[in-house]
């Protein structure tokens, strides 16, 4: 089986937002739809003893997604490879999945015509991968810092497997039982690691 996941190396991320903008242009998203914000609490500490980390976020493509069973139309669904996506042909825009997502990673745009609003979310660039099976999601391809790494966790030889097996990783809100599939290698402080 193939199970796609993403590893985010926070020790490499510098918060440039390239992935955020890249995603918007590649997917031609309305302005108010952001699939993958790079968030940060800002600089912490007292000058000059300060630190800062960035958290690139996106749909967690949970193994146990909240947003799929709640969908009344079956538009919100999950592929066998773990990709959670919304079929725009089926969605009616009720936003129950939007409310169900604990990560705030779905929304409808308010900048498209009223009554033409469906739920949008990250699909791990499903159509891009369908066109070219070797392609990575665009946010991964465009990341200068290679802070985002995409791959098959069921393949022990894949880069993501190796990273997850050899690094301490964290995931967000695991307590909700969603089993999110974005693995974070946290920043452990400046300097050579």
């Amino acid at each position: 089986m193939t199970r796609y996941v993403m590893v985010v190396d926070q020790s490499r991320c510098i918060g440039c937002q390239s992935c955020t903008v890249a995603c918007r242009t590649w997917n031609d998203l309305p302005l108010d739809i952001i699939y993958n914000p790079v968030v940060s609490e800002g600089t912490k500490g007292t000058f000059p003893d300060v630190y800062r980390t960035w958290t690139p976020t996106q749909c967690m493509h949970c193994a146990n997604p909240e947003c799929v069973p709640c969908c009344p139309t079956g538009a919100s669904q999950q592929d066998d490879d773990g990709t959670v996506w919304v079929d725009y042909e089926k969605c009616m825009g009720c936003k129950v999945c939007v409310n169900a997502c604990p990560y705030g990673m779905r929304d409808v745009s308010h900048m498209v015509p009223r009554f033409d609003q469906y739920v949008r979310k990250c699909t791990f660039c499903r159509s891009r991968r369908a066109q070219d099976p070797a392609a990575e999601p665009y946010c991964v391809a465009t990341c200068h810092q290679r802070a985002r790494i995409f791959g098959d966790i069921d393949d022990p030889e894949s880069e993501v497997s190796k990273l997850i097996n050899t690094n301490y990783t964290e995931r967000i809100f695991t307590e909700l039982g969603t089993d999110p599939q974005i693995y974070y290698i946290p920043e452990m402080g400046g300097g050579a690691r």
């Binding site: 968030v39 009344p72 009616m92 409310n99």
Partner: protein, 326 residues
């Protein structure tokens, strides 16, 4: 917090759904069990129930991103929203048939035949509508409480609260509209009086119960909820929402009608003002709850969204695609 995904239409829908469901449930209870034969007295309340559900459905569909394809809601088996939609439809269809069978009370001759034809199935119709109505009351709360992303919603207290509130508002609506459009004396003023009495007492109980459940829920979140739920509770108890909660919800929507019910029984204050206050309280409760959709933020998320432009930022609309300036 990005923004509220669900807004006013959903507030109204949840209120009207609960109200309509409650009226169906209570009507069935009275007509079929407590005071059999009181059917015509419930002609007006059921009309309001139907109107409430229809209006609620309108707001629900209006809130959709793509209203023309609302029928897609029926295309899966399991989703809770789908069950809500089914219950609404069932309640409205069966309730309507029951109500249509009493149209003769309006004296329209063309409806006499209808009444005769439907007379036999009235109990079944109202029975099904009543059960569906009960389902709707519970469903409005359950739907929010299953969305565990929102800590303030994800509590079993919420369905209880919504159900109690729905029943309470239904009592109020029945109190206001019982026997409307019919000549009560013809059917039985005694029965009407009896129902008024029962509804009066029941609503007192329900209001007390609602105060209890509401305070337990809010104060327990306030005292011991997780960070997000606690933040919401704090907002309710002593934050931005506090005037609305204490003044509007607790006092205006519950305590004041309770006092009127008890101390001014029989007066217009008890029979008209108090039920109206209860209805307003019910709407306010849905409003407060729906707008308490705080989600635990990913660290830094709030800072990110705070810095995004306001909706009226000039650059958002300064340049239109396809339009060449120079």
């Amino acid at each position: 917090m990005k923004h509220h995904y669900w807004e006013a239409p959903i507030v109204i829908y949840l209120f009207l759904g609960g109200l309509g469901g409650g009226i169906f449930f209570l009507s069935a209870l009275f007509d079929l069990i407590i005071t059999p034969g009181a059917g015509p007295l419930f002609f007006a309340p059921v009309f309001f129930a139907l109107a409430a559900l229809a209006l609620g459905c309108f707001f629900l569909v209006f809130e959709l991103g793509q209203p023309p394809v609302f029928w897609r809601v029926f295309t899966t088996k399991t989703a809770i929203i789908k069950w809500g939609a089914v219950l609404l439809s069932v309640a409205m269809i069966f309730g309507f048939v029951w109500w249509a069978s009493y149209l003769y009370v309006l004296g329209w001759e063309w409806t006499f035949g209808l009444a005769a034809a439907l007379e036999g199935i009235r109990p079944i119709m109202l029975g099904i509508a009543g059960i569906a109505g009960f389902g709707i009351m519970v469903y409005t709360g359950v739907m929010l409480s299953t969305l565990k992303a929102h800590a303030f919603w994800a509590t079993p207290a919420l369905p209880v609260l919504f159900t109690v509130s729905a029943l309470s508002t239904a009592c109020a609506a029945i109190a206001l509209s019982l026997g409307g459009a019919v000549d009560v004396n013809v059917i039985g003023a005694v029965v009407a009086e009896l129902i008024h009495e029962i509804v009066h007492v029941v609503d007192i109980v329900l209001v007390v119960a609602e105060i209890t459940v509401l305070l337990i829920m809010v104060l327990s979140f306030y005292g011991a909820g997780n960070v997000t739920a606690q933040a919401v509770a704090k907002r309710w108890v002593r934050g931005k929402t506090a005037p609305l909660f204490w003044g509007g919800m607790i006092f205006g929507g519950l305590v004041l009608p309770l006092l009127l019910y008890i101390l001014a029984a029989g007066s217009a204050g008890s029979e008209i003002l108090a039920p109206i206050l209860v209805l307003c309280g019910g709407l306010l409760l849905r409003y407060l709850c729906v707008y308490s959709d705080e989600r635990a933020p990913i660290p830094g998320e709030e800072r990110f969204y705070e810095r995004l432009p306001k909706k009226d930022a000039a650059f958002l609309t300064a340049w239109t695609k396809g339009k060449n300036l120079y």
